[in-house]
C-alpha cells in the first residue's frame, strides 16, 4: 500500500505532511501518544463517556427485564428510536470503509493520515449499531433465531425473504471484514509498538498482536496483497450494507418507505454522516494530540468537500422523493410527504432539511472549508441532521399510514433518550481506549507519502 501510494504518478500539489519530518519523527509523533501517560482531558473524557456506557448497560438491563414498553414505541409506530439509532450508527461507520477501501483503490494518497482513525470509528459505530437490532426485539434471548442456524429449539430456518435477515448477513459481514481490514492494516504498526515497548507487558501484548511481524520483504509482499484483497472485498460492502439497510424500508408496502430511490440515497447519506463524524473527532484529536503535521488542513478540506458532495446528493434525494410522490398520483404516497412538510412531525423534517441540506452549503467557500471551528460545528449539525433523517423516514411514515383510524404519535421516553446517549457514550469510550493503546495514525502508510529521508535514522 505504501508502495501503491508511491506509485501515484501525480505530484501532490499541496504537501500531505507538513514540515518534512523524517521517518523517525513520524514514528515518534504517533507512538508517543500511546507510550506517554495520556493527558488529563483524556481521563475526564473517559469518566464522562464511561458513565454513559454504564447508563447504556443499565437501560438495556431494564429493557430486557421489563419489555419494549419502556420505550415510546407503540402501534402504529413499531420502530422508532431503536431502528433510527441503528441506521444512524451503521451510517457513521461508512466513512471508515470508504476512506480505507475505496480511496485506497482510487489511489487517494491523502487518506493515509486518517484511514486508521476512520476505520476504528467504523468498528465502534458498527458495535453501537449492533446493539439496537439485538435489543429492539421483544424477546432478545431468542434473537439468535435470526441467524441461519437450524436450531434445536424448533428445527427451522429463518425466513430468507425478510430484509431483516438480509440485514443480519450484511451487517455481520461488514463487521467481520472491517475488523479484519483494520487489524491487517495495524500489523506493521503493532510491530513498531512492540519494538519500542519498554515494559514486559507491553512487549508481550503488542508482540502477540503483531503476529510475528518482522518487516521482511516477504512480509511486506504478503501484507500488501492481503491489504489490497481486503480493500477489494470492503469496497462492495460500502455500497451493499446501507443498500440492504434501506431494503428494510424499500421492500415494505408502507408509503414513505416503499420507494426505489432508497439504496443510493441511503449510501450517500451514510457516507455523508460518516465523514461528518470523522471531522468531528479528527478536529478534536488533532488539536489535543498535536497532530497538525500529519493531519493537515488539506485532509480536512478534502473531507469537507466530500461532505458537500454527499450533502448535495442527499438534498437531491429529498427533492426527488417529494417530486415522485407528487408525480405518482398515489394519494397515500402524496399524503406522506404533505404530512412530512406540514404534519405533526414537520419540526423534525425541517430540522433535517436545515441541517443536512442548508448547513453544508457553506463548504462551497474555501474560507469555511478551511476553518476548524466552522467545520467542527457543521459536522455536528450534519450528524444531528442525519439522525433526524432516519427518524423522519421511520417515524413519519409509520405514524400515519393507510388507515387514519390507527394514526398515532410517537413520543420518546427517558429510557429512549438515555439509551441513545449511552450508545454515544459507548462509542466514545471505545474511541478513547483506541487512541490510548493503538497508533491512531498509520505510521507505515504515512511514511509512504513523505519524501525519502536524507540519512536519518530508521524506525521499525
Amino acid at each position: 500500500m505504501a508502495d501503491l501510494a508511491m506509485k501515484n504518478p501525480l505530484p501532490p500539489d499541496v504537501p500531505l505532511v507538513l514540515g518534512k519530518p523524517s521517518y523517525g519523527e513520524v514514528t515518534d509523533a504517533v507512538s508517543r501518544i500511546v507510550e506517554k501517560k495520556p493527558p488529563r482531558v483524556w481521563y475526564i473524557a473517559l469518566a464522562v463517556t464511561g458513565t454513559f456506557t454504564l447508563i447504556l448497560g443499565a437501560m438495556l438491563a431494564y429493557l430486557v427485564a421489563t419489555g419494549i414498553g419502556v420505550w415510546g414505541n407503540n402501534n402504529p409506530v413499531g420502530w422508532a428510536w431503536d431502528i433510527t439509532n441503528f441506521v444512524f450508527w451503521i451510517g457513521i461507520g461508512h466513512a471508515g470503509t470508504l476512506i480505507s477501501a475505496i480511496l485506497f483503490l482510487f489511489r487517494q494518497r491523502w487518506r493515509t493520515s486518517i484511514n486508521r482513525f476512520a476505520e476504528a470509528m467504523t468498528l465502534f459505530a458498527v458495535a453501537c449499531a449492533g446493539i439496537f437490532p439485538l435489543f429492539h426485539v421483544g424477546r432478545p434471548w431468542r434473537a439468535y433465531w435470526l441467524f441461519p442456524i437450524p436450531n434445536a429449539d424448533l428445527g427451522m430456518w429463518p425466513n430468507f425473504r425478510s430484509p431483516l435477515l438480509w440485514d443480519v448477513f450484511a451487517v455481520s459481514t461488514y463487521a467481520t471484514v472491517s475488523a479484519l481490514f483494520w487489524y491487517v492494516g495495524l500489523l506493521p504498526d503493532l510491530a513498531t509498538m512492540r519494538d519500542r515497548a519498554t515494559t514486559p507487558w507491553r512487549q508481550r501484548i503488542y508482540g502477540l498482536l503483531s503476529l510475528g511481524w518482522r518487516g521482511s520483504a516477504r512480509h511486506w509482499n504478503n501484507y500488501e496483497k492481503a491489504y489490497l484483497l481486503l480493500a477489494g472485498l470492503s469496497t462492495p460492502l460500502v455500497l451493499s450494507v446501507h443498500t440492504i439497510v434501506s431494503f428494510d424500508f424499500a421492500v415494505s408496502v408502507i408509503p414513505g418507505w416503499h420507494t426505489t430511490i432508497f439504496p443510493p440515497y441511503f449510501v450517500a447519506g451514510a457516507i455523508y454522516s460518516g465523514f461528518a463524524m470523522v471531522v468531528t473527532l479528527m478536529v478534536l484529536a488533532r488539536k489535543i494530540y498535536g497532530l497538525e503535521q500529519l493531519v493537515t488542513m488539506k485532509h480536512l478540506e478534502n473531507m469537507c468537500k466530500v461532505m458537500l458532495a454527499t450533502g448535495c446528493i442527499v438534498g437531491y434525494a429529498y427533492a426527488v422523493e417529494f417530486f415522485t410522490a407528487f408525480f405518482s398520483g398515489n394519494q397515500y404516497e402524496r399524503f406522506v410527504f404533505v404530512n412530512r412538510a406540514i404534519g405533526p412531525y414537520s419540526w423534525a423534517v425541517w430540522i433535517m432539511f436545515t441541517c443536512n441540506v442548508f448547513a453544508p452549503q457553506l463548504f462551497w467557500f474555501k474560507r469555511f472549508r478551511t476553518n476548524l471551528a466552522v467545520m467542527f460545528v457543521i459536522s455536528i449539525i450534519v450528524n444531528v441532521g442525519m439522525w433526524f433523517e432516519r427518524f423522519v423516514i421511520i417515524v413519519t411514515s409509520l405514524h400515519r399510514d393507510y388507515l387514519p383510524s390507527s394514526w398515532g404519535y410517537f413520543r420518546p421516553t427517558a429510557v429512549d433518550i438515555l439509551t441513545f446517549a449511552g450508545s454515544i457514550g459507548l462509542f466514545l469510550t471505545l474511541f478513547l481506549i483506541f487512541v490510548r493503546f493503538l497508533p491512531m495514525i498509520s505510521i507505515s502508510e504515512v511514511k509512504g507519502i513523505i519524501d525519502a529521508p536524507a540519512g536519518k535514522k530508521e524506525a521499525a
Partner: protein
Amino acid sequence: MTPSGQNYWRSLDELAGSPGFRNWVEREFPRLASELQSKSTRRKLLQLMAASFGLAGLTACRRPEEKILPASRTAEYRIPGKPVHYATSMNLGGCATGLIVETHEGRPTKIEGNPLHPGSLGACSALAQASVLGLYDPDRSRFPRKRGKRSSWADYAAFAEELFTPARQGRGEKLWFLSEPLSSPSLEALRADVLRRFPAARWVEFESVPFAAVNRGAELAFGQPLEAVFDFARADIILSLDCDFLGHDWRDVIPIRQFSERRRVDSPASKMNRLYSVESLFTLTGAAADHRLALPSSQVLGFARELAEELGALPRKAETKAGGAGRQRWLSVVARDLREHTGACLVVAGPRQPAPVHALAHVLNARLGNVGRTVAYLRPSSRPALAGFDELCQAIQSNAVETLVMLGVNPVYAAPAEAGFGDLLAKVAHSIHLGAEFDETADASAWHVNEAHYLESWGDTRAYDGTAALQQPMIQPLFDGKTAAEVLSFAGGQSERRSYDILRKHWLAQWPQTEGESRWRKALHDGVVEGTRYPLAAPGVPDVKRVDATARVAGTQGVEVTFFADSSSFDGRFANNGWLQETPDPMTKLTWDNAALVSPAKAQSLGVRDGDIIALTRGGNSLEIPVLIVPGQADESIAIALGYGRRQCGRVGRGVGQNANLIRSLVTPGFVSGVTISKTVRKRPLATTQEHHSMEGRPLIREATLEEYRRDPKFAHKADHYKDLFSLHKEHSYEEGPQWGMAIDLSACVGCNACVVACQAENNVPIVGREQVRRGREMHWIRVDRYYSGDPEAPRAVMQPVACQHCENAPCETVCPVAATTHSPEGLNDMAYNRCVGTRYCANNCPYKVRRFNFFDLNKGVDEIGKMVFNPDVTVRMRGVMEKCTYCVQRIQEKKIQARAEGGRPLKDGEILTACQQTCPASAIVFGDLKDPNSKVAQLKQKDRNYVMLGEINIRPRTSYLARLRNPHPELG
C-alpha cells in the same frame, strides 16, 4: 382454613409480614390493610390471609351442588377438555338477555346469546359478553360484613330471622325495600309474599339509568299500565326522539337485530328502511340514521308536540313554532314521510325523555296506525303499588324508616347527590345491603351481604316481552355469595332459604304436577320458559286531552346537561370490569374515563379544548370534568356518561372518571338545565383509541345512497383503479381444503362493540390500562373504526369493524425474519407465538395496523381467580410477541376435529362461527368457506356491493366489506 385447601404461604416475606409484603397486601386487599396495622399482626394476618389464599386451591371442581342440565347432549359423559354449554340469562336494569354459557371443567369462560330467547335471538351485547369477567373479579365482596367488620352468613341469618318477624316489624310500617326494577317472576312472587306479610311495608324500584318513563308514558296515554314492545323490523320509517335504541338506551340487542335486517340490501331491487333521529348527543342511532337533527334534549318535547300537531294528532297551536326554517322543513318532511307510511312506521322516544314525550310518541303511533303493527302493547304481570325514591328519602328524613333492605343497588353512589342518600342512610337503624362489591352503599350500611354473580346463582328473569328464563349456576359461588331471593326469604316468611328451592318451588307451582319435572328440565335446557310472554293488550284510544295537557313546553333555560348510560360501565355497576373500561365508547372512542361532551361551536365559545377541565355547578354541587369535543353534539347541550367516579370500588374502577350523579336531579333524571359552567386551569389528557376522525378522502368505507346504488350497482368499485396485479413472490395455490374468508356488511353494522368484547373474551386478549391506551398500545384484535364525514355542522358518522384481513399475499409474512407468521393452506394468516421474537416488522408492514404487540408482560398480575376466565383453547401470550386476529382458528379446528370424528363428514356452512360473528346483533359479520359456492360468505362476495380495502397493494385480503348504503329522503338530500 378453607374447606378444600391447606394454608399456603407463598414467600418468607409473607410469613414474616415484612413491610414490602404489607405494602403488597395493602394494594391487593385495601380493606384489610387497617387490620394489618393493628397490634396482633402475625396471627391476625395468617387468619385473614388463610381464607383468601385458600381460594388458590379452588380453581376447579366447583360445580354447583344442585342438579343442572346442559344444553349440549351429553352431560353424564363429560369429556375433559371439551366445553359444556349451559343456558342462563342476564338481567340488566329489568330487561333480560338469554345466554348460552361455555364452561370448561366447571369454569364459565365465554358467553353467547341464546337463539331461543326472544331478548337475544343468538346475539348479545358487549356488557353481557364482559359479564363473565365480573365473575372472577378478585375485588368482589368476599364475605358479609356488619358495620364494615367481617361477619358471616350465619350471623346475618340469625340477625335476619329475628328482625323480619311481625313481632319486630308489626305490619311493616317502618320497613322499606329498595331494588332494581324487578323482572324476575320468582322474586316478584316473593315480593308479593313479603308485602302480604308486612302490608304497610313500602317497596321502591330504583333505577339510576332511567327507563321507566317509556311505560309511564303508555299509562299516561292509555290510562292503564302497559308494556310497549316495538318491532323495528316492520317499520319502513322510524323516527327516534332522543332514543338511542341501537346503543345505550336499550338493554338488549333486539332493536339492532330488527333494524339491521332492514338495512341489508340484496340487490338494487331491494327495499330499505329510513331512520330519522332527533337527539342531543351523537349516538349510534344518530350515526345509523339517514337524517339526524341535533337538538337539545329539553327541546325534544317541543319537537314532538309540533310533529303531533303537524300530523293532526294534537290540536294545532300556531305559537309553538320553534327553530329556524331548516328545522321546520325537516319536521314537515318527516311528518309527510310518516304519513305516507301509515301503519308501517314507528315513533320511539328515548328513556331520557320525560313521560309526556313518551305519551306523545304513543299518541303518534296510534294516529299513524302503527299499533298492532310496529308497536304492540302487552299486559305485564300485576305489580304492587310502589313508592318513589324521593318518598323513601322523605321517610328517612322524618325517621319513618327503621329497616331498609337494598337489593343489588348502590344508591349512595348512583342517586343524585341532591338526595344526600349517604347521609340519610346513617339515620336508618337496620340498613341491609346486598351487593357484589363492597361499594359506597355497602360502606354506609349496617349490614352488607356479598351477592352471588348471576353465573353462580339460581334465579329467573324476564325479557322485554315478559318471556321468563331461568338462571342456573355453572359454578359454586366463588365467595359464597347470596342471591336477592335468599336475602328476601327471611322477610317472606318461607321455610326455603336457598334460591334453588325458592325458584323450583315457584315454578313447579305454576305447572301441572305431572308435567312439573319435565317442564323444569326443558326450561333449564332451552333457557326460556314456554308460555310466559305477557299477553297482548288492547290499548284502546289514547287520551289526547290528557296528553295535550301534560305535554306542556316550558321555556328553555341556558345550557342543559344530559346523562346517558355508559357503554362500558352502564350506571357504574361494571366500573371494575377491565374489559369494559378498555372498550372504547362507540362514538367518542374514549376509554377509562368519562368526559363532558361538547360541540365544537360550544367549545369555541367556552374557550376550551380536549382535556381541559371545566366545572359544572348545579344546586351547590359541582362536578369537575374534562372536556371532549364531539362533532354532532347539540350546541346548547353537554352530555356526560354515568357510571364513573366511583369512590368505593375495586382496583380497576376506583378513581376512573367523574361522578355525573353529583349534578343530577331527582325530578328529571335524564337531563338538567340551569347548570353554570366555569373553566379551570387544570387539564386531564384523555385516552382515546382513535385520534384522527376523517377518512382523508380514502376509499376505506365506501358509501352511497340507495338511489345512487340503484343507478350504479357497482359504485363500490369506482375507487379501484387497478387491474392485473402481479406478485414478485410465489403465490400460494389455495387448492387444498376449505378456504376461509369473511364478509362484513357495513350497511348492517351499527358499531355496537359487541364483537370487540366477544373477541377479547374468546381470545384471552389482555387489557393494558389507561396510560398504555394513551400510548397507543391497546390490544384489541378487532376494533371498530369510526369516521366522521359531511358538513361539520351536521356530521355523519360511519363505522367499520377492522380485524386481521388475512391477506392472501400477506405483507407481514414476507418480512418476518424468523417465519413466525405464515400462511396456512386454508388461507389463514397464522401466528406462531412461540417462534416470534418480536421485531414488530410485521406490524409496521401491515397496512391495516391490526397487529398487536405485547409491550409488557400483560398477564403478569393476573391472580389465580383471574386466570379462571381464560379460554383454555387459546394460548395466553407472553411479553415481546406479536398477536392478532386468527379468524378464531381454535373454533375452526374444533369443528374440523368434530367433523372428522363423525366419519369425516364435510363441514356445514355456518357450523363454524367466529366469536365476533356469533355475537354480532346485526349479523353483519359472515365467515365461511369461500370454495363452497353455496356458502353464505361466498354468496356475499358475489354481491356488487362487495369490495376490499387497499386492493391496489395486491395483498388480496380475505376479509371484504359490503359497501354502506343510506336511504335519505330525496327532499332532504
